[in-house]
Structures are given as structure tokens and as C-alpha cells.
Amino acid sequence: MRLLQHTPRCPGRFPAIGPSNTSLNEPDPDVELLARIGHNEPAALQEMVKRKLPRLLALASRLLGDAEEAKDVAQESFLRIWKHAADWRRGQARFDTWLHRVALNLCHDRLRRRKAQPLALDDSIPEPVDSQLRPDQQLEAQAQSDLMAAALAALPERQREAIVLQYYQEMSNIEAAALMNISVEALESLLSRARRNLRSYLAAQHGDVQPGGGL
């Protein structure tokens, strides 16, 4: 089993993510934008927000299940971006990976603080409404979204993190494993257990009908 180097969780600094865990051979698409932010270009700030805010907010929303906390995490993450943009150097971690690490650590901090309390879904999360759907279809889509949110919230924290990074954030197995400081094999194990648990939760909600056919 290939174990990845442990990196300390320190949201205020550049996390050490080794080159073997990142796609450093490919050019980092964010480096140029960071340089422009370092030169105080207002348009670059807007571009960075447009590029990263939806992904950051989605990550924090799904990990925390709380819209307000997710916004706080997104804002704090951007403060780190503004602070470090001028000092960013090519060749260290990919910027997007670094940013995910920052946001993950901020989420970890918040989850630790409320460890004693079960993860409560925030009813105030405004769900997007697909205007192309009929009202009854919208209701059905809303119910499905709520159910999936509840299933995700019911997962153990590490399983939830694995599925959010790999599935929703569309990270490669290597990137997700590096962010979680685990091996790829351990990530696969977490993903498998997460999907089994989600299936069980949803099956229970669907009246014990085995979804998707049994294997």
C-alpha cells in the first residue's frame, strides 16, 4: 500500500502537497490570474470569484450541510487567496488543490467545533429551482435533493468527504487521496463504504426496495 506523506492541517499556510500527488506536469491554469491579482487588477478579482466561488461553496455546503457556515468558509477561503496571491509561485501545489485544502481545513475546524452535536441540515439552504420543470416535477426534484442531502449528512465524516471530493468536486483519485492524506486504496475503500451506506439509507427511505437492482 502506498502511503502518502502526512501534511499538517494549517489553513493559514501553503500546505505541503508533494509534486507526485499533483498534476504539476500540466500548466496550472490559475497562476496567471493569481499574478494579476497580485498586481491589484480589479477584473482579476472578479474572474477569480467567478471561477472558484461556485465550487468552494458547493464543497462547503455538502460537507457542512449549513448554508451560512458554507458562505463563511467561502469568504475565509477567499481571504487566504487575496493574502497569498502575490506570493504564489509556479511549481508548488496546483492552486486549485491548495484552495481545496484550505477550504477543507476550514470545514474540519467547524465540524470539530460542533462535534458534540449531530450534523443538522439547514432548512434555509435555498435550493435551485429548475424553471424548465413543471411544478410537480419541481417538487419531486426538491424532495430527491433533500433526501440525498440527508443521506450524505448521515455518512461518517471521512466517507462524506471522500464522496464529495471524488464525485461532486470531480477530483481524480490521486488528488482526493492527497487532500485527505490517505492512500488511493484507502480512498477507494472509503468510497465503496460511502456508496453502500448511501444505498442503504436511500433504500430504507424508498420502502426497502433494493435500488438499482441487486448485485
Partner: protein, 144 residues
């Protein structure tokens, strides 16, 4: 790739092969192309959960949040700030240059000249020629 390995990967990464490890995709495609029943069943099994996962949509960020975040970046310096930013270091340079010049002037006046030039150009602070100057003054008074 064995059907068991295929099922394991489908259970971990879901039904979309582009989410699978890059090095496994080609072999997985070949297994699927061979109409392997176990592989197809595993894919169908994973597809259902993918559909459920896709159903969980989170809200897009509001324009207000985006504006707050942009505003949290350091504002560009004002006109006065830019002038100050230019003048402040320039003033240090100016003071430094003035100090060096003043030091050179004092040194040139206070230090004794080399012995060869001493006789030709007496130093202002050198009182060695006081007797000569006084005698010249006395001579002039006498002549008058």
C-alpha cells in the same frame, strides 16, 4: 481486467468511466465491449446511485456574496495613497543623499590637506599662519 475488479471500481467510483482511475479506463472499456454480463450489471447498479447523487443540487452563490468577497480584497490605493507611496521612500532617499553631501562638506573642511598642498592652500581652520596675517595687517597700518 477481471469482472470482479470492474465491479469493485464501479462500486467506488460510480458508473461514469471518466471518473475512474485513468490507468484502468481502457481495460474497463474492453471488458464492457466484450459484453460481460457481470460488468454490465455492476455498471447499472452504480448508475442508479449516480442518478441519486446528481439529484442533490446546491444553490449557486448569490451576487451579494460575490460582491462581499470582492470587497474583502484590499482596495486599490487612492490617489493620495499612491502619492504617499511614492513620496515616502523618496523622502528617505533625499534625506540620505543630503546627509552624505553634508558629511562630505564637513570632512573636506575639517580634515588637514596633504603636506604638499598645505603650504599653497592654507586651511581655514589652520591657525599656523596667524602671525603672518597679523604682520601683514600691521605693515599696512604703518604705511598708512
Amino acid at each position: 481486467m477481471t469482472p470482479e475488479r470492474f465491479a469493485h471500481l464501479a462500486e467506488a467510483y460510480g458508473a461514469q468511466l471518466q471518473r475512474w482511475p485513468a490507468e484502468e479506463r481502457a481495460a474497463a472499456q474492453r471488458l464492457l465491449a466484450s459484453d460481460d454480463a457481470q460488468a454490465k450489471a455492476a455498471l447499472q447498479h452504480a448508475q442508479w446511485l449516480d442518478g441519486q447523487l446528481d439529484g442533490y443540487r446546491v444553490a449557486a452563490p448569490s451576487p451579494q456574496l460575490a460582491q462581499q468577497i470582492i470587497a474583502s480584497a484590499s482596495p486599490p490605493p487612492s490617489l493620495w495613497g499612491r502619492w504617499f507611496g511614492w513620496l515616502f521612500p523618496a523622502s528617505f532617499v533625499g534625506v540620505g543623499v543630503a546627509g552624505v553631501l553634508a558629511g562630505m562638506l564637513v570632512a573636506s573642511l575639517a580634515l588637514p590637506l596633504p603636506s604638499s598642498a598645505h603650504e599653497a592652500l592654507p586651511n581655514l581652520f589652520d591657525s599656523g599662519d596667524a602671525d603672518l596675517v597679523q604682520s601683514l595687517d600691521t605693515t599696512e597700518d604703518t604705511e598708512q
